[in-house]
Amino acid sequence: MLYMTQTLLRCLHRLEDALLVSLLFVMMSLAVTQIVLRNGFDTGILWADAFLRVSVLWIALIGALVATRQKQHIQIDVLSRFLPAITRYIATIMVNVFSALVCGLLAYYCFDFVKMEYEAPSMAFANVPTWLCEAVMPVAFGFMAVRYFLQALVLIFNPVKTESTT
């Protein structure tokens, strides 16, 4: 059971990483192709600009999702470095629970937004509906919420091994 969960998790992480790298690759190739077509052949791919802009959104959310996994988010963090270890431990748990709540809230309302767009569909580019482009928002925030929650749990039940991944 534990083994299976770990394999599943590893697959998920791989998928996130692969998506992130491919998005950048496609973005770079498509943008350069567009320049070549525009300047060399006076033409262009009609959906390219819209696609590029949507891919920025996807990079934002998937990148942030990976950043959550690796605890690489930018923080203001003025107080915690002056706190004693035990207070800092409790503070970290609280911060993680709080982050999980906020991400959960974002996931819920982004889902609401996607639902609204699904009910009155419009096209983002080519034949891709807008709601599909937006769907990455609730999904990513949902995973982020779960991740922060698990990070809090790990801290609570395993105070020594704080550098665990979720």
């Binding site: 320049i35 959104l57 990079i59 942030a64 915690s80 809230l105 928002m137």
Partner: protein, 420 residues
């Protein structure tokens, strides 16, 4: 509200704090929180954002390869013969390198390691050398295509008063102020050589030729960015795409310094950083939207106006405020939190929003070297195995010089606006 503040201070991610603040604000205004979704999706309506992942990726790649070595050799051959030569070389290379790698610490790690021993070897005092490499880690923040310049333009455009702030404008506005900083620091470097009798290097055509040949693939880089944008051949996002592709080809195929496996790793790492920044930016847009709806900047302006009546007093207070802010906030947090509040006030005092951006970033550049949250101090301390206090002392003279530069930049708007 208090919960949010405590969570922020305890180290909650900035995007969580801003999202929480926006949610709270909209809830208070009885607006459906679905607005958060609408606002986040506005990332898609900001085409200029495309430049951000592409430039950042190019910067990461440059930081990993051996460009830093070739760059130092070239600029040294070019300018090393001048009095104070190596110090000037250090300032110029750091500024150029930081513009691309975006003050993410890459400059200190990649260039500091080359310049610090070279400076000591050339006879510069230890304190000076250490202070130089530490402060120079953020020099170049005002030069294109630095990430903070792009971010300022994007944030300013969200505000009704900041519609004139284009990325192109910011790229032009930063040039002369950055030059002032480099020139002032160079004069200080020259003065130090006079004090310590650092021997001069001689100029060699042979060495310049050799260095130029070695760096022949790097030399066109500024042409893409600056030449392309200023001459109007490329738009900013196009320049970013071309730069990213060019740097990839250069480091992976031509120099073969980076393996395909490393390339994928760098792509991933840079996009994690970009994702974190973009999400903050998206959430900050939602937060800004609430600020506008709740008319917070207008109210703030009314309050400030009661106490400060002249533009010049305001500018002085602004400098002081930003300096203190820079001690506690990193540049990204400061940008997304403070620009939406400060810009409308500054415009109210008749300050050009583009000039404000330069003042803001120039002040933040100092913040990289001030305790307790000076990123340059932390990275240099780690890299050169020196204590933070020791580093702090070495940077003081440089900070003083930079402060003079900041004052000149603040009170002489022409510097920022002349090239527009």
């Amino acid at each position: 509200m208090i919960v949010l503040l405590v969570m922020a201070l305890l180290g909650a991610p900035l995007f969580v704090v801003l999202a929480g603040a926006a949610a709270l604000g909209f809830y208070h205004q009885e607006t459906s929180l679905t607005v958060l979704g609408v606002e986040l999706y506005r990332l898609v309506d900001t085409p200029i954002l495309l430049a951000l992942p592409l430039f950042t990726f190019a910067g990461y790649l440059l930081g990993e390869g051996n460009t830093s070595q070739r760059l130092v050799r070239l600029i040294r051959a070019l300018m090393g013969w001048m009095p104070g030569g190596l110090a000037i070389v250090a300032f110029c290379t750091c500024a150029f390198f930081t513009a691309f790698t975006g003050a993410s610490g890459a400059t200190i790690v990649a260039l500091g390691a080359l310049l610090y021993p070279a400076l000591k070897q050339a006879g510069y005092p230890e304190r000076f050398s250490l202070g130089l490499v530490t402060t120079s880690g953020s020099l170049g923040l005002l030069l294109p295509p630095s990430l903070p310049l792009i971010l300022y333009a994007i944030i300013a455009q969200q505000l009704p008063q900041g519609s004139t702030v284009s990325i192109e404008a910011m790229f032009k506005a930063g040039l002369l102020p950055a030059l002032v900083m480099i020139v002032l620091l160079s004069i200080y470097g020259y003065w130090v050589t006079r004090q310590h009798h650092v021997p001069l290097q001689s100029f060699s055509w042979q060495e310049l030729k050799g260095a130029a040949i070695e760096a022949k693939w790097e030399i066109p880089l500024p042409l893409f960015v600056l030449g392309g944008i200023y001459s109007g051949i490329f738009a900013v996002s196009e320049a970013a795409a071309v730069t990213a592709l060019y740097v990839t080809i250069m480091t992976v195929l031509i120099h073969r310094e980076i393996s395909l496996k490393q390339l994928v790793q760098i792509m991933r790492e840079s996009m994690v950083m970009v994702g974190a920044i973009l999400l903050i930016l998206a959430v900050a847009m939602a937060f800004t939207n609430w600020l506008i709806e709740a008319e917070v900047p207008t109210q703030l302006f009314d309050v400030v106006k009661q106490y400060v009546d002249s533009k010049w007093t305001f500018l002085l207070l602004l400098n002081l405020f930003l300096l203190i802010l820079g001690c506690f906030l990193d540049i990204f947090s400061a940008l997304v939190i403070m620009v939406p509040l400060l810009l409308p006030i500054a415009v109210g005092y008749g300050i050009d929003p583009i000039h404000l951006g330069i003042i803001f970033l120039a002040n933040m550049e100092l913040g990289y070297c001030t305790p307790p949250v000076g990123m340059n101090l932390m990275i240099a301390s780690y890299r050169f195995k020196k204590s933070m206090t020791e580093l702090y002392h070495t940077t003081i003279p440089f900070l003083l010089v930079l402060m003079v530069a900041v004052l000149i930049i603040t009170y002489w708007p022409w510097l920022s606006l002349a090239l527009l």
